[in-house]
Amino acid sequence: MPRYLVERTFPDGLVVAPGPEGRKTLMSIIACNSDRNVTWVHSYVSLDQRKTFCIYDGPSPESVRLTARSNGLPVDRITEISVLDPYAYHVG
């Protein structure tokens, strides 16, 4: 399944409540993702919490957008990506 980088902007900053409330929010996002076969791998959040860079696996860019919409999350840009790490060509 292709992997995507999803950039989002939160003008008022992204706030995830701590504790059970936050857990519930994240769980409901995961449940909604699974409807369309979309998997949230993880995210990087800017220090001012206004931008996030999220890594997703999903069948298509549209599925990522629809899921974002169901979860009430904005989407600025979607880029298809692949993994490159320092040891990608390491042999042995």
Binding site: P2, Y4, T9, M27, A31, C32, S34, D35, S60, P61, E62, R65, L66, R69, S70, V75, D76, R77, I78, T79, E80
Partner: protein, 859 residues
Amino acid sequence: MEREEQLRTLQEVVAESSGSGRVVLLSGEAGHGKTSLLEVFLDSLDHRYQVLLAACEPLGIPAAFAPLFDLLDDLPGALREDIRSGAGRPAVYAGLLDLLKNDRVVLILEDMHWADEATLGLIRYLGRRVEATRSILIITYRSEEVDLTHPLRLVIADLGPSAVRIDVPALSLSGVTEMTKGLDLDPVRVLATTLGSPFFVEEVVRHPEMRLPPTIENAVLANAAQLPDEALEILQMIALSPEGLDLEVLAAYGPDTGAYVDMGVRRRLLVSSGGHVVCRHDLIRDSLLRSVPPVLGRSLHLRLLTALESRAAGSPDTSRLAYHSVGAGDADKAVGYSLQAARDAASVGAHRQAATHYSNALEYSRVMVRETLDEALLQAAKEHSVINAFARASELASQRVDLAAGNLERARARAWLAFFRSRENELTACRKEALLAIDVLRSEPASEELALSLAVVAWGELVEGDKEAAIRYGDEAVAVAREVGTPDVEVHAATTAGTARALLRDPAGAHQVEEAVKLGIDRGLGEFAARALNNLGLLSLWRGRPRDAHTSFDRMIEYTMAHELDAWYIAGIATRATLNVAMGLWDEADKDLEVVLGQRTCRQTEIETLITAATLRARRGDPRATQMIEEALASIEGFSDHEAKVTGCALALEAAWLGLLPIAEARERYATLLSAPALSTDSSGRGVLGYWARRLDFDPPPGRIPGPAGPEWSGQLAEAAESWEERGFPIEAAVTRAMLPEADLDSVFSELFRLGAEGVIRGLRRELQRRGVKRVPRGERSATRENPAGLTPRQTEVLALMTSGLSNAAIAQELFISEKTTSHHVSAVLTKLNVSSRLQAVVIATANGWSSPVPGRSS
């Protein structure tokens, strides 16, 4: 076991249902414990709730409303009678809704992946209304059975985000470890073999002596193999009867049956209650079924059929009789019961089931007399056509042509074949058959078949772009249809003729289509009314008026949804998706496309959807756009529909502009289309192509270029941009505005950014650089901060004038635009500010300091 989260969600739904009712979609693979979860949930349920439980069974062809028969004893008398007597959908739907309204009910519909169409319609109906009750509707289904093309999928999509979705997943390693505690079993191996299926793990745990069988089927059969052969046969017979069997029926097969049933119950293969016995789980039933050898299967089916016949005095369940007579291979009975079951199913609108029953009956065509066969073929073809299986419909209809005796009969059969071929969009084939039919039928007294053939030819001419011929044949078809009194054919032909007239700019055309809509709706002609509504919307679209078209399609979608005309419903949604893409309503377009993609549709809709989806992806600058564009363009190859060729060419030109396709390829496609004769009478096509030719500096299409692209070619850029905006094409409006010599590029780019049109931003930047514009902005979000509502410069001007208290007429005068255009701007401003009145808009504008008029314009 590992179901706490799911149970809690169910209980929360109950807690909240005192405010408003909800739909719960409970999915999971077979054996994942959906039913067990529900049992635990029902135990915990408050006694104020009435629980109604109905399940579908895997009967090859489900009977209409089959699951509701489980409920009969719990339902009020009138509703019970309606269901029993096959009173039709509206009465049953309304009756159940009343029940949900009057009481607190938990209505559980289990295993809906096997549901018949009437029940699916019920889910849709109740699902959209349950919020107004204090009841809960729980739908369970096997997730692995419901793929993208499954009819339940569309129903789920319709229920939308308000439905609560609960998935019952496989067990984790810790769950398996917990269950195998104290047994000599390696939990990791158990997990690997069972894939965490709770049903399978339970079987393994219950019979550790079996070691670890590789599949569920092996586990079940190893368990059943402990029984004597006679008992196994009884079990297999019970498995062949999806709803289970009564003990008294079983008693007829020998004195020991009771004891055998007890053995099955003891080994937990069967459950028995109230003198009725059934397999404990569908996975057990499936495994037992697969173990039945074919010859034994026939004799078991025959026994069941005989038992059923001897008891079916009152209202015979034809669907079940058909199932067992097909299983028993009894040709005469299979034909008789299948035809009866098909008519029963069709009469309550379960067309999918009707079509399958007809197909089953036709397997035994060798025992049918010619008249029966001919009628069965025609009805089978009609049912297949209703469910969009057009190729199969044509195949059946062509068998009738071969069967026909004599010229006249053959011509009549050809007329129907031509009609089904036309639904397949097989232009050449349908015209050939229709013309052959017309040749014979014209010299006979007027007939339905003559009207039908003429209507088919008219349709073909319209699709190929010969509008005069479409009018000629269409008018003749209307006259014949009136004479013989077939309003369905009349509506079909009048829609075609009216559409052709409108395309030739004859004002009578749209009126004729309106009349066809009215006649179609009045006479309840479902799909013919839907087509007329569809064309009415298309006429607005072709005139370059997406807003009007959108209104028409909303109406059509509502009508087709209410009448369960799925094919037209999907076609309507597909076109609305196209409109939403054109109008910049892309979130809406996503939703529409999701409904359409993966549905089985006609080729035209399939092509339209691919083009729309590719256009949207390309305009957004999303990944894999080129791939999708190529797929869309490939889908048009060999398709003779002129409109598809035009939209395909427009896609190629746009893709080239966006840098996603080589310019040379776009140029070649464009040149090919310019030489097509149909383009000379297709003004809307010239308008679309004219815009893109301008963008790419290609030669303009020959003849007058209608719509906003016209003024752009003659250098009136401001007028062109204004016209795009007023018609409801924000992308074209923004791009054209960017071409103005004094263009405010920052605002153009921020408008495009607001629309999410990253791809268009890239394309526009390329064009501006090509035209030598020095400073091309980056088009990031920054510019929108000053104007968070994302108003265009024109809309900002209009808002400023509204703030000064000007009326639409005064604003129109001030800005040198028409009053109609002004009112479009005003409503766009209200939409973007998310307010419903002028006053609210003015308050927001003043509070944010956006009310100062734009320098250089009004005082």
